[in-house]
């Protein structure tokens, strides 16, 4: 067996770096780095893209030190259930520590993507000041900053290509932040301001996009009136992805024809979104580009079924469709007939709290889509009823699912025909879909479904469970199976201490585990923390905010539990509602 040093000396460093450049996947690079010290050294110097799935898994300074040549970094903060307000607002996920370390060690950073982090205006100012070559800022589901911070980015990032603000909570305190883009800024390729709540100076925006000939993605916020959309489109006919602003106005035929021709003028348009307050009046204005559309997001448009059908039947090349459940089964049947290239479908609830008229969106719509769209691999479906038979049919029709998320809105809903749990249906999904990476369960489910998942879902990376299971066995099946499980999030299930303690080692192979409103006690968490030093066991108890951990008895029930592997040890920014057990 050739020794490490001689292996590496076969070729000069540059050749190895060139070889490694063909390993884009982090997992492959990580594996290469473990081969020998020489490769570790070579690989770390040649890695320029880093993904940190949990900002607390590693010290920022350590990451920056190990990979000195990084140009693009992506970091995620809060657990996924923070999207549904299950995580206290002061839990953490602050970006300062990372931005400061990066400013220090990665002055050539060009791209930064942050998800579910708390980003302050100071962070944005630091980014704007320290990274001379900064090109891409993407903030997804973040909070803590204002338009003043955006002004700093606009003013100082001379080569800015992408400003992608997706579903953030942004305080609006600087009305004219967009005026801070200098006249010399002509490099924008992506500008997504859809989540901003405040007014936007459309004239400034017009001038900005007028001088950015490479602009491909423009997503406006709902303050941009429909009349002004026409002018914007005239200045950017090269757009590939458009998010409209408010898609409603006083009807007059002149506006309609101007809008229609402006949209028709965008010959490269592939994606449409926005459509706030859209009604049937102006929808036909987009008919001319429907044939070329690959992505259509109508999830903010409360348009009724018939109009939706008229629109979507024209979109023969659609690959991604996000729509409200107002499309109903009939609409989905039409989609199944027209959109043969459909890959991803998301159906959102127009009335999640059941106050209005019932919508006729049932399991039939899902079955129709599964039968009619052979390339379908990703589904998010909110509905009120389901049957095992339907799920079995879907599983048979679509063995290629990579992501299946079904949300039956009333918890514990059984098969409405047989009154049985939906174990059989979901089991069929995991047994048939061998490439399933993401799964969300709902409806009435016993431990049996978890037995199937544990046994069959070998590629599963993320599992979301709510209001399911009978007892500890359910969790045990998951943790003792699911070889590739990375993220497990559980709420309101009767899972207790035993499966956690019995499967402690598994938790180190995963990124994180979230359990809320289950049956875990503090004592078990203490035991787990003692047993597994490479895990941070965070107990979140908002009712006991500020109370000393040492005085709590072992049988104290745990409201919320977040466990994640880390090489950084306990974090230092825990709020009063979080105890980190060691």
């Amino acid at each position: 067996m050739v020794g490490g040093f001689r292996w590496a000396a076969m070729f000069p460093d540059e050749v190895w770096e060139h070889v490694f450049s063909f390993l884009p996947a982090d997992a492959d690079r990580n594996a290469a780095a473990l081969v020998c010290r020489a490769w570790y050294r070579l690989e770390r110097r040649s890695r320029w893209r880093v993904f940190v799935g949990n900002c607390y898994a590693v010290e920022p300074a350590a990451a920056v030190r190990r990979f000195p040549e990084v140009r693009a970094a992506a970091i995620k903060g809060k657990p996924h259930f923070a999207d549904f307000n299950l995580v206290p607002s002061d839990w953490g996920g602050g970006a300062e520590a990372w931005v400061e370390a990066m400013a220090e060690g990665w002055p050539h950073l060009e791209e930064l993507r942050l998800k579910r982090m708390v980003v302050s205006d100071d962070c944005l100012e630091l980014i704007a000041r320290c990274f001379k070559n900064f090109k891409v800022l993407s903030l997804v589901s973040c909070e803590g900053f204002s338009t003043a911070g955006l002004a700093a980015i606009a003013a100082n990032c001379r080569y800015l290509r992408e400003l992608d603000l997706h579903e953030n909570e942004v305080e609006d305190n600087c009305l004219h932040w967009m005026s801070h883009f200098p006249e010399s800024c002509t490099s924008l390729v992506t500008l997504n301001i859809a989540c901003l709540e405040g007014e936007v100076n459309v004239s400034v925006l017009e001038r900005l996009i007028g001088r950015c000939p490479n602009l491909k993605t423009l997503r406006l916020n709902h303050s941009v009136p429909l009349e002004r959309l026409v002018g914007l489109l005239h200045r950017a006919p090269q757009l590939v992805d458009l998010g409209t602003g408010k898609y409603a106005a006083q009807h007059h035929p002149e506006l309609f024809s101007r809008l229609e021709s402006a949209i028709a003028g965008c010959k490269n348009l592939k994606g449409l979104s926005g459509f706030w307050e859209a009604g049937p009046t102006f929808l036909p204005a987009i008919y001319s580009v429907c044939e070329g559309l690959t992505s259509l997001n109508l999830s903010y448009a409360t348009i009724q079924g018939p109009e939706l059908i008229k629109l979507i039947s024209r979109c023969k090349n659609l690959q991604r469709l996000w729509v409200m459940d107002l499309i109903e089964d009939e609409g989905l049947i039409a989609v199944a007939a027209s959109c043969k290239l459909l890959q991803e479908l998301r159906v959102f609830p127009s009335d999640p709290y059941g106050a209005a008229q019932p919508i006729s969106l049932t399991e039939h719509g899902l079955v129709a889509i599964s039968a009619g769209c052979p390339m379908l691999h990703s589904v998010l479906y909110f509905c009120r009823q389901m049957t095992n038979a339907a799920l079995l049919t879907v599983a048979k029709n679509c063995p290629n699912f990579t992501c299946f998320r079904l949300c039956i809105m009333e918890p514990h809903t059984p098969d409405y025909i047989t009154r049985q749990p939906l174990d059989a249906g979901f089991s069929a999904i995991v047994e048939s879909c061998k490439h399933l990476r993401r799964l969300s369960l709902s409806g009435l489910l016993t431990d049996l479904v978890f037995k199937s998942i544990g046994a069959s879902a070998n590629r599963l990376e993320m599992l979301s469970v709510a209001f399911a299971g009978d007892g500890d066995a359910g969790l045990h099946y998951i943790l003792s199976g699911c070889k590739n499980l990375r993220k497990l999030e559980i709420r309101d299930c009767p899972f207790g201490d035993k499966p956690l303690l019995d499967n402690a080692a598994k938790l180190e192979t995963m990124r994180s585990l979230w359990m809320s409103s289950c049956s875990v006690t503090l004592g078990a968490c203490r035991q787990l923390a003692r047993k597994m030093p490479l895990l941070n066991v965070e107990v979140i108890n908002e009712r006991k905010r500020g109370l000393p951990l040492e005085l709590q008895p072992d049988n104290c029930p745990v409201e919320k539990l977040y466990i994640y592997r880390t090489v950084a040890g306990p974090r230092s920014d825990t709020p009063s509602c979080v105890w980190i057990l060691r």
Binding site: F84, S141, C407, P411, H412, P414, L444, S517, P557
Partner: protein, 238 residues
């Protein structure tokens, strides 16, 4: 048994919330088993939430939620059909006066029960939709449900009047149908009616100038703007 915090906001008047009325009445029928009222840590109703930004809304929901730690894996009770039933999570809000053994002994795993969706929304951050979509939908609901316009309706000869929400109707036909149902009489237009004038009734309204006018002459939207109250009078008076 875990401790029970009793913050001042931890109990709400159950009669103010329609969904809770039905649940608290369930507890009254099972008084032999459950000896106290339901206490919930909600200081907010849906309408109160609309004033604040989505972030404030959720933050305040969380801080007033009062989760009792006493119970572990409460299971839904076997309530039959017409009663609004409670789910496991809701039962956790019961104060620890019940020993967990007495409660869990009466509960058994029932697979057929319903929950009050409104309660779910307020208490459990369910279904899982993102804040932006949630606030967009809430705005829509607010816009469509916030307007009511109740006017008094009297029928000649009856001293006690009724009240009617004009905005829940979309035109005169709908209004007439409701009034006929409410007062059990035919209301007609006197010029087209074949019923002798002594027996027929017509609908009149008082406008903003204080004049009594026949209903139906002006467009519905205009009518809504000027009407103050309604009166059903005998046709021969017109």
């Amino acid at each position: 048994m875990g401790d029970q915090s009793n913050s001042p906001s931890s109990s709400i008047d159950s009669s103010s919330h329609p969904a809770l009325c039905s649940t608290s009445s369930i507890f009254q029928t099972r008084r032999d088993l459950l000896s106290t009222d339901l206490k919930l840590g909600l200081g907010l109703s849906t309408s109160a939430l609309h004033g604040c930004s989505s972030k404030e809304r959720y933050a305040s929901c969380e801080t007033t939620m009062d989760v009792s730690p006493s119970s572990q894996s409460f299971l839904p009770p076997p309530f039959p059909g017409p009663y609004a039933c409670m789910s496991a999570s809701l039962l956790r809000f019961m104060p620890s006066k019940f020993s967990s053994s007495s409660v869990s002994s009466m509960l058994d795993r029932s697979k057929s029960f319903c929950t009050s969706s409104v309660l779910w929304e307020q208490l459990s951050h369910w279904p899982p939709i993102k804040p932006l979509l949630r606030s967009t939908l809430e705005e829509k609901v607010h816009r469509s449900h916030s307007k009511t316009f109740f006017v008094k309706v009297y029928m000649e000869g009856l001293p006690i009047g009724r009240k009617l929400d004009l905005l829940s109707h979309n035109g005169y036909d709908s209004l007439m149908r409701t009034l006929r149902r409410m007062f059990r009489t035919t209301i007609t237009c006197p010029d087209t009616s074949r019923v002798p004038p002594e027996k027929a009734h017509v609908l009149t309204y008082e406008d903003e100038e204080g004049d009594w006018m026949m209903v139906g002459d002006v467009p519905w939207e205009f009518f809504l703007r000027t009407v103050k109250r309604l009166k059903i009078t005998r046709a021969d008076k017109c």
